[in-house]
């Protein structure tokens, strides 16, 4: 398992969580943060790499009380994936235009 939840949020409902990503860094952290922090129902979103010698990235989401942080995270990942898909599609089209 390369993905876990950080302890400490158990009693405050499911809307706020810190997720621990193993073997991830600024590449995923910042890209994901740039999308999730722009969701209107997210109050706070940020990431940190607590120690440079540990390959771990902590990703914090504090959402609107009615929402679950994990659902927000999933939505963020799905949006980032959609961005990637669209980039691949656009780049391939641009390459075809360039070569023709």
């Amino acid at each position: 398992m390369s993905f876990a939840e950080l302890a400490g949020d158990e009693n405050s409902g499911e809307h706020a969580r810190t997720f621990v990503f193993e073997d991830e860094g600024h590449t995923l952290g910042n890209a994901l943060k740039s999308i999730i922090s722009r969701y209107p129902d997210v109050d706070f979103c940020g990431y940190t790499i607590p120690h440079p010698a540990e390959n771990k990235m902590h990703f914090r989401i504090q959402a609107n009380k009615k929402l679950r942080a994990i659902d927000i995270l999933k939505r963020g990942l799905e949006d980032l994936e959609a961005v990637c898909d669209h980039t691949i599609e656009t780049f391939e089209k641009a390459m075809n235009d360039y070569n023709s």
Binding site: H26, A31, I35, R38, Y39, E81, V83, H86, F91, Y98
Partner: protein
């Protein structure tokens, strides 16, 4: 998107100024359709080693993720293990092994798998085997010459002398040219008569974050598109002075001796104009905040366009992996 809508960052004499009407992308609510409408890619230059393209309408975090992945998370093949059966040359074993590791290989990493921990020798699906067996000797027939090239044989060992040894059915899919060193003229070592190499080299698939030799790019970087505007007509002697303030080809001078901005794209954005008080008010220098000019230089194994696509796929696979894990909870 209209020209006036393009978000800019102004380059002033001593500081960088945000556009007062530009709140930055961080404040816009995320909407995939808006992203789709604004997003564009333009290929500017592309060959087998180098390419330049523009990504327009994207958040810097995403552009930076692509760049970072190209540098350190797109796999490539490199020599990882060197079995030294004999090395009587001057170069030490560990230095030699390190040098050999840095030789770029032509092998397409997409055709190989990562090597598993437990398998020491490797299989035909994850390992390429090479051999370097050379011995330096004195040419008997040459007597009076002072050039090492004529009196010694094999006194310079080049990457081209590395021989590929197909494992299993590898020779059916690959050829010496498609997996061996990209450059045949990389000097590995210099030798004297009696010096000898007997080496077995094992190349595996790896990632740039583990060791730079696995990075598929020589460089991958982006910069923001520069934009220069003239606020008044600059003519005569001043026009030539203005031309000198920018990179060659940026400022043109028309038939009436008036300066005009020919092509700001390749400007270095040095702020030399601000040294001349009479010119400093005549120009506005800026960069387009969401227009990324990417430059990707391949090491040679993969085309730069493929490297970029692979990088985007790596980011996509990261997302897929974590979505899968969330769903399985």
């Amino acid at each position: 998107m209209g020209d006036t809508e393009r978000p800019r960052i102004y380059l002033e004499e001593h500081k960088i100024k945000q556009d007062p009407n530009d709140c930055g992308m961080a404040d816009e609510p995320w909407d995939f359709e808006t992203f789709k409408n604004n997003f564009r890619i333009v290929i500017v230059r592309c060959d087998s080693m180098e390419m330049e393209f523009d990504i327009i309408g994207v958040h810097p975090a995403i552009a930076n993720a692509f760049r970072r992945i190209m540098l350190s998370e797109v796999p490539s093949m490199a020599i990882e293990k060197v079995y030294i059966y004999n090395n009587t040359s001057i170069i030490q074993d560990e230095v030699l092994a390190h040098r050999l590791g840095l030789i770029p290989l032509k092998a397409d990493p997409r055709l190989f798998e990562y090597r598993s921990e437990e398998n020491e020798e490797g299989t035909e699906h994850d390992t390429l085997e090479f051999e370097l067996k050379v011995k330096c000797t004195r040419r008997k027939d040459v007597k009076d010459s002072s050039s090492f090239d004529t009196i010694y044989k094999n006194h310079k060992i080049y990457s081209g002398q590395i021989k590929w040894i197909p494992k299993g059915k590898q020779s059916e899919i690959h050829s010496e040219v498609s997996v061996g060193p990209i450059h045949d003229d990389i000097l590995i070592s210099q030798m004297r008569p009696g010096h000898e190499f007997d080496l077995k080299l094992l190349a595996v698939k790896g990632l740039g974050k583990d060791h730079a030799k696995f990075s598929p790019v020589a460089t991958a970087f982006y910069r923001l598109l520069p934009e220069i505007k003239l606020n008044r007509t600059v003519s005569g002697k001043e026009a030539f002075l203005l031309q000198k303030c920018f990179s060659p080809g940026v400022v043109g001078i028309d038939d009436n001796d008036c300066a005009y901005i020919k092509d700001a794209r390749y400007d270095s954005c040095c702020r030399n104009v601000y040294r001349y008080p009479q010119l400093s008010e005549a120009v506005t220098m800026s960069r387009i905040r969401d227009h990324f000019v990417f430059n990707v230089e391949s090491v040679g194994a993969l085309k730069p366009s493929i490297i970029f696509l692979e990088a985007v796929k790596v980011l996509k696979m990261k997302c897929r992996k974590f979505i899968g894990q969330i769903e399985s909870i």
